[in-house]
Amino acid sequence: MISIQGLRKVFKTKTNTITAVDRLDLDIQDGEIFGVIGYSGAGKSTFVRLLNRLEEPSEGSIKIDDKEITELNTNELRLARQEIGMIFQHFNLLWSRTIEDNIAFPLEIAGVPKAERDKRVEELIRLVGLAGRENAYPSQLSGGQKQRVGIARALANNPKVLLCDEATSALDPETTNSILDLLVDINQKLGLTIILITHEMHVIRKICNRVAVMENGKIVEQGDVLDVFLHPKETVTKKFVEQVMGNGEEDDLEQLLAEYDQGNIIRLHFVGESANQALISQLAKKYNVDLNILQGKITQTQRGAYGTLIVQLLGNTDEIDKAVQYITNKTSVEVEVIRNVK
Amino acid sequence: GGADSDENTITVGASSVPHAEILEEAAPLLEEEGITLVVEPYEDYVLPNDDLASGELDANYFQHIPYLEQTIADTGYDLDYIDGIHVEPIGVYSKGVTSLEDIPEGTEVLLSNSVPDHGRILGLFEEVGLITLNPEVDKGEATIEDIVENPNGLVFEPDYDPAFLPELYETEENTLVVINTNYAIGAELNPLEDALFLEDENSPYVNVIAVRSEDKDNEALNKLVEILHSEEIQNYILEEFEGAVVPVGGNN
């Protein structure tokens, strides 16, 4: 559905030349929810802004629905844009319009009749939890409320593609969840394709099918969410995965090692197979070791439990070695020995 | 109403002061003769002649003869005048200079920026013997460049709005300020007493009723002039304008 080739965007300032997006290739399927993550300044916002040509590409091609976006004339681009909703990082609401009228705006643009418009707006206001504030102006809303108006506005005209630039970063988890559910719902019912920029990995985990990791304007890694979560290759990806997978932060680890100064400490990666979920209890039964779960996180994926646990093994050195060997040889759990006491 | 409307309605363009006021005074007298007078006020000196020539006006009353002649020469309009009605004498005033005899060398003369007045003012200066103008130049059209003799080395500065001249007289003490009498009176100057020297009623700068040449004998318009020359109107002028406007061509 969306096919991007050699996309490039260079900003020239007096002192610097910044390549915000650098020869980027990407294919996004119809009806997919595609996540984009990356550090601040990686070029994520620039990337989505290139997709609907709010930013003119310096180079490269963007095909959406077999239309070459970069070659559309003004009018064609206009019509193409009506099918692409966009949620802005900084909301970009019209201060001169009430909440209601802000949400109705894309419908007015698309020429939807008044009665229908009102119905749709009411529905959306309810969906994003702003009922009762219809007639407020953006300046009278909190940050998260503005964000929700932006979301409602982007969804109003039932777009085919939705570009979300940190759509939930100003929202509390409860509201985030309800918005994400809403997006998944629309995605499933109407086949909406969503490109979702975020720095919250749990958002990616919860709703994305695939994810791309950007760094310095390039996509350094991409794939199925689970694959990327399981086998992050790049450092940047690992950092992001750690966020959702637990507190792998190195300084935490050192503290841990200092605190629990006895026995072996190992890190177990559960890679999503239900057979291994009982590993801890199996080990306890099989070997004469005590297993202290110090830290970690296990989540459910379609294929089974997945995650990381940092475990302290106390007991006889031999027994410990055997236990570790067992894990290595007989299970699909990946084990990493952090401290080995000999 | 233009020239082609009712025979007995005449439209006359006039400057608001004193011309329009004088006409307004005459209107009821004219009405008695069965003539309706419509006064069209103008604040500008170009348009009334344009409008007269184009037929929008039947007559106008705002200019003196030299100006009318100048306009005819410039534009080729076929205009003429019936008769003169009044003079607004111009005077020269000064706080610092008290007599014609001891005007210091290089004294500045401040005068109106209204070009049509310049010839008239220079003529007045020539008459009292302060300058000599090029004899080949028509007095009415003379400009500062036409001064051939200027024994006192007077410096003419024709840059000021006529209405501001009384203020300049107050502040710029060692200059000669040429002030139209109407402004002088407005500023509570007494032309006869305060002026260093003054035009007399023999001035050629008499304000006339101007018409298109073909209308020179028009009955209604001549009736208008007749009434303006009547004793009643002439007395009105004398009383109303306290000497700043001097009626001419009447019976007195």
Partner: protein, 220 residues
């Protein structure tokens, strides 16, 4: 003091009416024409929606030329046009073309300044929704800059009142010309004073209305 004066209430009322009449009608014309010019300047500028160096230069030139011409000369230049349009070159109505054409380029610049203050983000938002330029103009640019547009037209209104004084030259009447010719020229300063007071009152009325609307519309 006022007893010495030649103030005629009728004349004064008429002059007031003429000033109001000319200012109000001219204001409507100026508003429309000025917004048009301002939009053209804004849209065709560098980085604008219709970026067009040539057109921008032309519009800027027209605006500058008409702003540059002294009003009195503008009146003169417009005679043929005025005559064609109004059927006369005298009186309050004949002053309108000159007033509008004199004030609109000026207001056009104020409109341009106001439009430049509109947050680029909301224009982008509208573009991302596939809005026509017309929609962007009428539903984004104008509403979002409305407080500044109204303040600007208020400023222009008051400049227009000043212009009406000069329009007295073609017999348009009005307070300014009444003050100048019947008051100032005749050194009847009571008339000047009274006229000034009335003008000040009119200015206050315009300013009050302008401020009121502008504040009302400002939802920031």
């Amino acid at each position: 003091m006022l007893n010495d004066s030649n103030i005629k209430i009728d004349d004064l009322l008429e002059a007031t009416y003429e000033t109001f009449y000319m200012t109000t009608i001219a204001l409507v014309g100026t508003f429309i024409l000025g917004i048009l010019l301002g939009l053209l300047l804004y849209l065709t500028m560098k980085g604008g929606i219709w970026e067009n160096k040539f057109l921008n230069f032309i519009v800027a030139a027209i605006v500058n030329v008409f702003r540059a011409i002294p009003f009195i000369i503008l009146i003169l230049l417009l005679f043929p046009f005025t005559n064609f349009l109004i059927g006369s070159i005298r009186g309050p109505n004949a002053a309108l073309p000159a007033l509008i054409i004199g004030a609109a380029p000026f207001y056009g610049r104020l409109v341009e300044i106001a439009l430049r203050e509109v947050d680029k983000g909301v224009v982008e938002a509208a573009q991302s929704m596939g809005a026509k330029t017309r929609t962007i103009i009428f539903k984004v640019l104008l509403p979002e800059s409305m407080p500044a547009l109204i303040s600007g037209i208020t400023v222009t209104a008051i400049a227009l009142i000043g212009y009406t004084a000069m329009a007295g030259a073609i017999g348009a009447g009005g307070l300014g010309s009444y003050a100048y010719y019947s008051g100032f020229q005749r050194r009847d300063f009571d008339i000047v004073f009274i006229c000034s007071v009335i003008i000040v009152i009119i200015v206050f009325i315009f300013q009050f209305i302008g401020d009121f609307i502008s504040n009302k519309l400002d939802k920031r």
